[in-house]
């Protein structure tokens, strides 16, 4: 990568190798070394996800006993609760990486935050979908203004806001930093929103209809849910690493290592 030499004052090039002698733990923070590492990790996480998923579904759908009050409708819990956990967990992780990207100015962590958002939004949507499908047989309505479901809905809006903001800004650097500010402001407000929605829910409706009336956790049910949660987690890591590699290639298209990478087969 040669740079233009000016006549009067300066010369030399600023290639990424100059950053090598800095602190070692920044080693994997440089996109060039992170890309192959992520490539090697993805198959492992994908395999783990499939294994855990199979185990979780087996326990959840073939081993767990039928519930006394809700019959077999409760089995949706094996998908609903892990999805809800993942949606909130991914938002916090996204805000963390966005904050790191803003503070340390490392492009890679900002790309990671951008890569997390779609997966987080998808899990939020799945939590809402399974939640309403579970609500129909149990409480007779598709949508229950329960505190946690409503907070999930608001979390979905926060994800859309983050993605819409990043899509609206062309310059990647500004998109990352603006998204970071929004994610940090959002993550501070999530607990506030959650508790105000709980207050609002108990105030108007009382606790008659709410998710708390879920069945008591038999051992196998808990195991099934934990397995599914781990499965979703592994799945998220694999998908997010794959997406961050795409973002890396899109943004670093002009660097040499990217060109050699792009000449190979996908």
């Amino acid at each position: 990568m040669t740079t233009r030499d000016s006549d009067t004052y300066y010369s030399g090039n600023a290639s990424p190798s100059a950053a090598k002698h800095r602190i070692h733990w920044f080693h994997y923070a440089s996109p060039q070394t992170f890309y192959p590492l992520a490539g090697r990790l993805i198959p492992w996480f994908a395999a783990l996800a499939v294994l855990l998923g199979a185990a979780g579904m087996y326990v959840g759908f073939l081993v767990a006993p039928t519930d006394a009050q809700q019959g077999d409708a409760y089995r949706i819990i094996f998908l609903h609760v892990p999805a809800a956990w993942m949606s909130m967990f991914l938002y916090v992780v996204m805000a963390f990486w966005a904050g790191v990207g803003l503070v340390f100015n490392t492009r890679l962590s900002a790309m990671l935050a951008t890569a997390i958002a779609p997966t987080g939004a998808m899990f939020t949507f799945l939590a809402l979908w399974t939640g309403s499908l579970w609500g129909k047989p149990t409480w007779g309505t598709w949508w229950v203004w329960d505190a946690r479901l409503t907070s999930e809905l608001i979390l979905l809006f926060l994800y859309f806001g983050f993605m819409a903001l990043q899509a609206a800004i062309d310059d990647p650097r500004r998109a990352d930093r603006a998204g970071a500010v929004l994610a940090l402001v959002g993550v501070i407000n999530v607990p506030i929103i959650y508790f105000s929605v709980i207050w609002w829910n108990t105030l108007h409706q009382g606790a008659s209809i709410s998710m708390k009336s879920a069945p008591t956790m038999a051992m196998t049910m808990l195991l099934g849910m934990l397995l599914m949660a781990l499965c979703f987690w592994m799945y998220s890591i694999a998908t997010i690493l794959a997406r961050v590699r795409c973002i890396l290639l899109e943004r670093e298209r002009h660097t040499d290592w990217c060109m050699t990478e792009l000449r190979g087969t996908p």
């Binding site: 990568m1 040669t2 740079t3 233009r4 030499d5 000016s6 006549d7 009067t8 004052y9 300066y10 010369s11 030399g12 090039n13 600023a14 100015n105 062309d170 310059d171 990647p172 943004r251 298209r253 002009h254 660097t255």
Partner: protein
Amino acid sequence: MLEAVSLGCVRGERRLFSNTGFSVAKGQLLRITGANGSGKTSLLRILCGLLTPSDGKVLWNTRPIGEQREDYHRALTYVGHLNGLKDDMTPHENLAVASTLAGCPAGRSARRDALAGFGLAHCADLPVRHLSQGQRRRVALARLALQNPSGIWILDEPFTALDAEAVANLSRIIAAHAAAGGIVIFTTHMEVTIAAANIVLVNLGQQADRA
């Protein structure tokens, strides 16, 4: 003394310039030349602290400008492409706000003299909306006369839209400022003769190349 140490700037995916270094002592003028799109404006904005460089740093009296934001801004006056004027307000009001923000509020008479110095005495009380592009540019430049004499002026294409007489007037003011121990960093496409001791040149080269 303002010093730029191996500055580099990447906009989007294009690397505008890299490893740019220079230093400007008191009383010196620095002119940044280069073709369109070679990153002159970005370099000026980096020197102001508005734009963070992708590598390198800017030192003022050997300390990074990021750490002494208040002192550096007290000494700095920046006139960019945008005039920084409110169309609904008169030049007088605009200057009043600008001088307060710069930390040295100027009285009505001082503002009138500053405007007169730029040949704007007759339209000092007209809303800026009614002024021509050249007059607006001069109102934006009138800010320079109000701030401290030994400060740093960073001017982005100050001579655009000015008529010959205003160009000569501005050159005289810049030369006087340098003589009084100030620093002026500017870009221009017009060949302007400024009667100053030494003008340091930094050339950012031709078209920006790929990163």
